[in-house]
């Protein structure tokens, strides 16, 4: 009982105190972090499709990270900085799996977030979301600030298939309505103004109709940016489709049933699968820690990885689980 009360009291007043007594006041945190958030204007404006979203500066020379969306489907993407200055942005690259895009503007000495892949953010962390929601801030008006709490760290597809996003890793679920129209690409920071993550695209559960409020963790943003910079992301079309396991040196049993068990028929000599120690008759049960129940699921999971991402298979051999690392995934065949 007393523990329950203790947590209740802390919940009631703790958050208040944290925000009011932190090293930086929330006002200061918002002021400094908002300078690193930009308003983006591009294609759209049709029914249900906004022509605006948010983005964040990730380098002083004008690299902007945002979500990959239809807003960017134009050669005329405008970027408005916190000081109200307007710049033409150029699409530099995309990460279709994480649905990220990098833009650049011609500028220098800008305040920018650092994508330090620090430790995971704990559930209960107080955060502030900064975004161009509903497009209400124009010109030199500061982006909107909302405060909330990280209420869960869970895979985005926790209810498999309920949300349609190619990204399947962990996201921060927030307890406030942050993911409004125009908010995708906005920054989520902690009370010190450190980047926690980026507001993702608007997602609605097909099962419950509920809109999800979430952010992609900074570490994932960092991986995405590095993938884009190194040119190892595939195109949307190839990455979304199943990946032929033979490119890793795996010959799976012929796919004859609705759920053909993913047994390995053969391992191509000299392949990464052979190097990893896979053997015929191994049953694949997980790709990258994600359970696979069928041959099709294996190729789908491999397809979700970007070229260059590490491939790790869990197989059952003789009643024991064996983990095999196949190294970086090769690019899909055109």
């Amino acid at each position: 009982m007393s523990a329950w009360i203790r947590s209740l009291v802390c919940l009631l007043v703790g958050g208040w105190a944290v925000l009011t007594m932190g090293a930086g006041t929330p006002q200061e945190t918002i002021r400094s972090a908002a300078r690193k958030v930009v308003k983006l204007y591009g294609a759209g404006g049709l029914r249900g499709l906004e022509s605006y979203q948010s983005g964040m500066l990730v380098s002083p020379d004008g690299t902007i990270l945002t979500v990959l969306s239809t807003v960017l489907d134009t050669d005329e993407i405008d970027c408005v900085l916190d000081d109200g200055s307007r710049h033409r942005a150029t699409l530099k690259g995309v990460d279709p799996r994480r649905e990220l895009a990098l833009l650049t503007i011609d500028a220098a000495d800008l305040p920018a977030f650092t994508l330090e892949p620090g430790g995971p953010i704990a559930v209960g962390t107080r955060v502030i979301a900064l975004s161009n929601l509903f497009g209400v801030a124009v010109g030199d008006e500061r982006v909107s600030a909302q405060r909330g709490v990280v209420s869960a760290v869970v895979p985005l597809e926790a209810r498999r298939g309920a949300t349609e996003a190619p990204f399947t890793g962990d996201v921060y679920v927030l307890d406030c309505t942050t993911n409004n129209p125009g908010a995708p690409g906005g920054a989520v920071v902690d009370s010190q103004g450190r980047l926690v993550g980026m507001l993702g695209k608007e997602l609605r559960s097909t099962a419950s109709g509920i809109w999800l409020n979430y952010a992609l963790p900074t570490a994932e943003l960092d991986r995405g940016v590095r993938a884009i910079m190194s040119g190892t992301t595939g195109s949307v079309a190839t990455d979304a489709s199943p990946f032929d396991a033979r490119l890793c040196g795996l010959v799976l049993v012929p796919d004859l049933l609705d759920k053909t068990p993913p047994f390995i028929e053969a391992v191509l000599p000299g392949s990464s699968a052979a190097t990893a120690g896979l053997e015929p008759d191994d049953l694949v049960i997980a790709v990258g820690g994600r359970a696979v129940a069928s041959r099709a699921a294996v190729e789908r999971e491999l397809g979700r990885l970007a070229a260059g991402d590490p491939v790790r298979l869990s197989v059952i051999r003789g009643g024991r689980i064996v983990e095999c690392d196949l190294g970086p995934r090769p690019a899909a065949k055109e």
Binding site: S2, I5, R6, A17, E50, G84, V138, G139, S144, T177
Partner: protein, 592 residues
């Protein structure tokens, strides 16, 4: 009502018991908590308690309802136009003391979505203390107190807590007349029914009135994006609203747009506007309005939206690299007939282009929206004698109340033995001497350019002399009659509202002093007379006709040792022309 009362006491008892359990359960728990946290908690509880006391739950029967906030001990409360519009002139309002009060409609600002109502039956209502909303910063904590989803059937308001998400937001009229300019954006939950309720700062002071929210695809419930009308805007309009008027918003008579390099330029201007007369032209760059810098079209609309039509405000513009500072009178956006039609519920064609995400209003209303019309609705007993609709007025009763209040202040300041004839003599700063005589049978001014004379009892409009003044003698005759005999002695006198005495003080924002203004209509002329808190007329303007440049007279403060309390100088101007600066000499020599 007793049942409600009982229920609310029960609710208090339940909450109180819960608090006791919390407090007594484990003293070690409390010892663990940083005293600063406990202090913050205690402060917050106090702020919420105070906010709850002045929160009004408005019930309009089948017409729905909403929220309000008390701002004076005699029961004046702020709410939204869209809350009272379907309710009619009488409504029932609940406070958290568990009692229902009758209330009557006082004034409406349909464009700004503001209404003033008055709760009846007490002169010691708990009320909120306003604060300067320009001090509000993103990240500030805030509280919304109100009646979301009309849940307050026990008359206890709901409190939602959040932070200020943005300031100086502009929200398009979006298919309605309601324009939210310079509003405060919050992430505190603002749901249907919160409309009209107070937005409070962490200090417990009132910073705005909640009224709108962005809704889109998630249904008409809070998505963390609510908007409050700023306290500073409410303050600018409150004098007019208390005067029972149907209020219009302002236009400069010019439109602006952004140039390619981001400057705000005049894109169109009416040649009949005061701005044109004062020298504003196409392609001039607007730099500041009413003392606030203008860097975007939104900023221009934000400032303009907070200012009543009729005010004179400073405007700074740049042309060919040179800055010009002028003072411009703002005109009304609508005609009186248009405004009346709007309030009667006739739809207005949308003005600005409503965006795809045009926010809609949180106004919970049952399906049956039959409004009581003036003909069919019988006035409830509760507001008999307190409701008097007239053209241009929502409720003239309250105009008479304000007019009589100002008249009483003037009467108090008026020396008992004011001479029948007021005589002034002295030098004109521009050269030469003057003599001025104001009496019941004549108003006379003797200037180097000649003598002008009118009969104050006759047709004041017969002579707009002295020539070039725009009606100085008529103005002074009205002034003397008003001060000597009170407002009912001079034509039709109404309470106009409040305005800044000097337009330049608007730069001070919330601190800008606003003073009462009376309006006199006589012989086809209109005069506006500013009266300070001491009952002294400090300025007046007279229009010989609606399109004329008014004659502006500023009255210098009386000499402390002058028992008559008459001014020591008159500054008279018309448009940009100074007519004369009249310095009155001590009257000892020639006065009876």
């Amino acid at each position: 009502m007793p049942a409600l009362h009982h229920r609310s006491r029960l609710a208090i008892a339940v909450v109180g018991t819960a608090a006791l359990v919390l407090a007594a359960s484990d003293s070690a728990v409390m010892a663990d908590i940083d005293p600063a946290v406990l202090q913050a908690e205690a402060a917050r509880i106090e702020v919420i308690r105070a906010a709850s006391r002045c929160a009004v739950s408005i019930f309009a029967g089948d017409a729905g309802g909403g929220s309000g906030v008390l701002v004076s001990p005699d029961g004046y409360a702020l709410t939204n136009f869209h809350v009272v519009e379907p309710a009619g002139p009488a409504m029932r309002c609940g406070l958290n003391d568990g009692r229902l009060y009758d209330a009557v409609l006082v004034g409406l600002d349909p464009t700004g979505d503001v209404a003033v109502i008055r709760l009846l039956g007490r002169d010691d209502f708990p009320h909120a203390t306003p604060a300067d909303s320009d001090d509000v910063q993103p990240g500030d904590f805030c509280f919304a107190a109100g009646n979301p989803f009309l849940l307050a059937t026990d008359l206890q308001p709901s409190i939602s807590v959040g932070i200020v998400s943005g300031i100086h937001r502009y929200q398009f009229p979006a298919g309605t007349i309601l324009e939210y300019a310079d509003c405060i954006q919050v992430d505190a939950a603002i749901n249907p029914g919160n409309s009209g309720g107070g937005l409070f700062a962490e200090t417990g002071r009132l910073i705005g009135v909640n009224g709108r929210a962005s809704f889109e695809k998630r249904g008409r419930v809070n998505v963390g994006v609510g908007y409050a009308i700023s306290m500073n805007q409410l303050r600018n309009f409150s004098g007019l609203l208390r005067g029972g008027r149907l209020i219009d918003h302002a236009t400069l008579g010019a439109t602006v747009s952004s140039s390619a390099d981001g400057r705000v330029l005049v894109s169109d201007i009416l040649q009949s506007s005061d701005a044109w007369r004062r020298g504003l032209r196409y392609d001039d760059e607007i730099v500041a309005l009413a003392g606030r810098p203008v860097r975007t079209v939104n900023a221009f609309k934000n400032v303009l939206g907070t200012l009543p039509a009729g005010w004179r405000v400073p405007l700074a513009y740049r042309r060919a690299g040179r800055r010009h500072d002028i003072v411009v009178r703002l005109a009304g956006v609508h005609s009186a007939a248009e405004l009346a039609a709007l309030v009667a519920g006739e739809p207005e064609p949308p003005r600005g282009g409503p965006g795809p995400d045009a926010p809609r209003l949180p106004a919970p209303r049952p399906a049956d929206r039959s409004r009581p019309s003036a003909e069919t609705a019988r006035l409830p007993e509760s507001i008999r004698g307190l409701y008097d609709p007239r053209p241009g007025f929502v409720n003239f009763h309250f105009n008479a109340v304000e007019r009589d209040r100002v008249a009483a202040v003037i009467a108090k300041s008026r020396p008992a033995a004011t001479a029948a004839a007021w005589e002034f003599a002295g030098a004109r700063a521009e050269g030469g001497r003057f003599q001025l005589r104001l009496a019941d049978d004549e108003a006379l001014i003797d200037l180097p350019t000649g003598i002008s004379r009118i009969d104050p009892a006759g047709d004041l409009a017969a002579d707009s002399g002295p020539p070039g003044s725009g009606g100085l003698l008529a103005a002074l005759a009205i002034w003397r009659q008003l001060v000597r005999s009170g407002p009912t002695a001079v034509g039709g006198t109404t309470y106009w509202g409040t305005a800044p005495l000097d337009p330049q003080v608007l730069a001070a924002g919330f601190a800008a002093e606003l003073i009462d203004v009376l309006e006199v209509s006589v012989s086809g002329m209109t005069a506006q007379i500013a009266v300070n808190a001491g009952g002294v007329v400090t300025q007046m303007e007279l229009w010989t006709n609606a399109d004329a440049e008014p004659c502006l007279v500023r009255f210098g403060s009386p000499r402390p040792d002058d028992p008559r309390g008459l001014p020591t100088r008159f500054d008279v101007s018309r448009g940009d022309e100074v007519f004369g600066t009249f310095i009155v000499e001590p009257a000892a020599e020639g006065q009876p």
